[in-house]
């Protein structure tokens, strides 16, 4: 519900004319609902920011939240809800910080009187609802991104990429691999190859109880991607059931090296690097 330019002007005048009182009342109402979990000084500063944003937007013309001229107002609202979300306040507690303005505006409109007071109050109230909903939306978004960040941290914890030898890294995969996790592991593996300059990688799936087509595809794609980057992958620890699944699903492992155990895989790689060194210095053998 956007306000007309005239209504916006009146609201701005109303709020700025009673600036001290508005911030005072507004802060009090919020403080009551938050029960002292935020200092008065900080609350007051937030309220002043909001007050300033609404007044300055209103003075420029119609207050229309999605519009260009409301950028500052949107930024102030998002900042408030981000702060609340991070500090662990509930959605209601966050929304109240905005809805509290209604009570203040109601008092002011009542005192100001005039023929339009009801219509004005309905319009202002509609705007405050919109501001509240916007705050609620950005609160939810912040919470979602917090949760996503935590999920990612958890993924990283559960998928270590370790250096086994000079030029050899390994990922011991443990537990069920879903598509999302497989993707994260594979990206990390490839990045580790670059960071450590290792031309060999061992993907050990001893701890993986089952693979489906998608996961197998992810592993295969990683092996091909590693090759494009100039590194070789060896897959080790394929259990009998998984070998059967792979064959039953018709997944072609092609010329990808597979070894029974991590130890076999490491031996294989060391032999490969050994052969390479021997080949580079043929005279030493002779």
């Amino acid at each position: 519900m956007a306000l007309s330019a005239e209504e916006s002007g009146r609201l701005a005048a109303l709020l700025s004319g009673n600036a001290e009182r508005v911030t005072q009342r507004w802060t009090e109402i919020i403080a009551g609902s938050l029960r002292g979990r935020l200092s008065q000084a900080e609350l007051r500063r937030q309220v002043q920011d909001l007050h300033h944003a609404i007044v300055s937007t209103g003075e420029q013309g119609a207050i229309d939240l999605p519009a260009e001229n409301a950028t500052e107002l949107r930024a102030t609202l998002s900042e408030l809800s981000r702060g609340r979300a991070r500090q662990g306040f509930s959605a209601t507690e966050t929304a109240i910080s905005i809805f509290a303005l209604k009570d203040v505006v109601a008092e002011l409109v009542e005192e100001a009187g005039g023929d339009n007071k009801l219509r004005d109050y309905v319009a202002y109230s509609g705007l405050i609802d919109e501001l509240g909903l916007f705050t609620f939306e950005s609160f939810v978004r912040t919470r979602e991104s917090l949760i996503a960040d935590q999920a990612e941290q958890l993924l990283e914890l559960s998928t270590p990429v370790v250096k086994l030898w000079e030029g050899v890294v390994a990922v011991p995969l443990v537990g069920t691999l879903d598509s999302a996790r497989a993707q994260v592991v594979m990206e990390r593996l490839l990045q580790t190859l670059v960071d450590t300059g290792s031309p060999y990688a061992i993907i050990d799936i001893t701890g993986v109880p089952a693979v489906d087509t998608q996961v197998a595809q992810h592993i295969l794609k990683t092996v091909v991607a590693a090759r494009l980057m100039g590194a070789d992958c060896i897959i080790s620890g394929i259990r009998p059931q998984i070998a059967q699944t792979i064959v039953a699903l018709g997944i072609e492992f092609g010329d990808i090296a597979t070894k029974a155990s991590l130890a076999d895989a490491l031996r294989h790689v060391l032999r490969l690097t050994g052969v390479e060194t021997a080949r580079r210095q043929p005279r030493r053998d002779a």
Partner: protein, 136 residues
């Protein structure tokens, strides 16, 4: 149009692609490289794509063509420094870069060229195509 510089280091030509190339720049590089291989008699070409944030089918084809041309001119081409995201994308795109040697970085690329040259040298000495498998 911008041009990609080609540096000569010993027996190797080093091309480090630092810009988002237009197709024309890519074709120009292909021509410049062929000329430089002949002019310098170098036997190795390293194309460093560390700075490239994407490789599409056009650039992929250019890399393949450069590898083939340099092969004809008796030079070994190694593409180095492909980023993980680029490699994953190429796999999805279906581009396999057949016939191109790759290495993680310039240093590994130089080792690869040296090894390839040494192999060739060895084959010439023994004149035996099975030499590789016969060596312990």
């Amino acid at each position: 149009m911008e041009r990609v510089p080609i540096l000569k280091i010993g027996d190797i030509l080093l091309v480090s692609i630092q810009l988002d190339m237009s197709d024309q720049t890519a074709v120009q590089l292909q021509e410049d490289l062929a000329e430089r291989i002949v002019a310098t008699g170098c036997h190795g070409v390293i194309i460093d794509i560390t700075a490239l944030d994407i490789v599409d089918s056009f650039v992929g084809r250019m890399l393949s063509t450069i590898a083939s041309i340099s092969k004809v001119l008796d030079a070994e081409t190694v593409v180095v420094g492909m980023r993980p995201a680029v490699a994953i994308t190429l796999v999805e795109l279906g581009l396999s870069l057949n016939g191109i040697r790759t290495a993680l970085n310039v240093e590994r690329g130089m080792e690869l060229i040296a090894a390839a040259r040494a192999d060739e040298h060895e084959y010439q000495l023994d004149d035996d195509p099975d030499a590789e498998t016969a060596t312990p």
